[in-house]
Symmetry: C2
């Protein structure tokens, strides 16, 4: 299958890794994964500092290469919440609980444009040891590390 | 992965086949799929006649066996919209656009019970040749066949 997934991935934490791994599993050995990576401008809306695009792309690339998936993949710049999802032919979108509402908007907008709706795979956010979501903001604040371990 | 999916599957049309195939693909070679099959009593709420449970189970079994998936699987009776999803440990629920709202309820109820929420995979309904969803009701009414071909 042809899968699309997106994010800022800074820092690349266990929640992001689940999102990416699941995208490759869903794609299957012969599939393709398109990863929309937030541009620095789009990521600028976040409430914590973000590594530059090329640095984030490098870390993402290393993680994917080390994971050893067979599917092909490419990274494209994500300039807004929809990115290329409205005008690309693909099978399924992989999202987190946080970004699930955007996937419904994407299907509504695709339909308006006369495009086929896509399947949606929503992963449950990975929980930190304290039972709350792992998020980049929490890691930035020093509450948890990138595996969700509480920092005391 | 351990996957749960449910339905009445009468008649078994291309939309159901997509739901089942996707469940096995997601489960992977070493995974397990639990298929909740509506009991005759629960299915009795449908607005069209339904084949008896054992007959539906037989057709379902034949389809799965013929598909040649490696994952293990079993069929259990589905007595209400939640079935065993609230009290079973599993990874992901596969639903259609129609039943997606139930998956959100399931995660809410699981959380209330202190259980881990599950990932949700929502497939887009298969469209008939006339661009509307394939559904058992439409097949029963004689509008389309089980592959979504319009009957004139």
């Amino acid at each position: 299958m042809k899968i699309m997934v997106g994010g800022t991935f800074s820092p690349l934490h266990d929640g992001h890794k689940k999102l990416l791994s699941r995208s490759f599993e869903l794609a299957g050995d012969d599939g393709h994964v398109i990863i929309g990576l937030s541009t620095d401008q789009f990521a600028g809306d976040k409430n914590h500092p973000i590594a530059p695009y090329e640095k984030r792309k490098e870390i993402l690339t290393t993680f994917i290469q080390d994971s050893g998936y067979s599917a092909t993949w490419n990274v494209i710049p994500l300039e807004d919440r929809y990115g290329a999802t409205l005008d690309t032919d693909f099978d399924a979108l992989v999202v987190s609980e946080e970004t699930f509402p955007v996937s419904l908007e994407i299907n509504r907008l695709r339909k308006e444009r006369g495009r086929k709706k896509v399947d949606i795979h929503q992963i449950t956010c990975v929980l930190a040891d304290d039972g709350r979501w792992i998020s980049s903001t929490r890691i930035y604040r020093g509450e948890i590390d990138d595996h969700g371990r509480v920092i005391r």
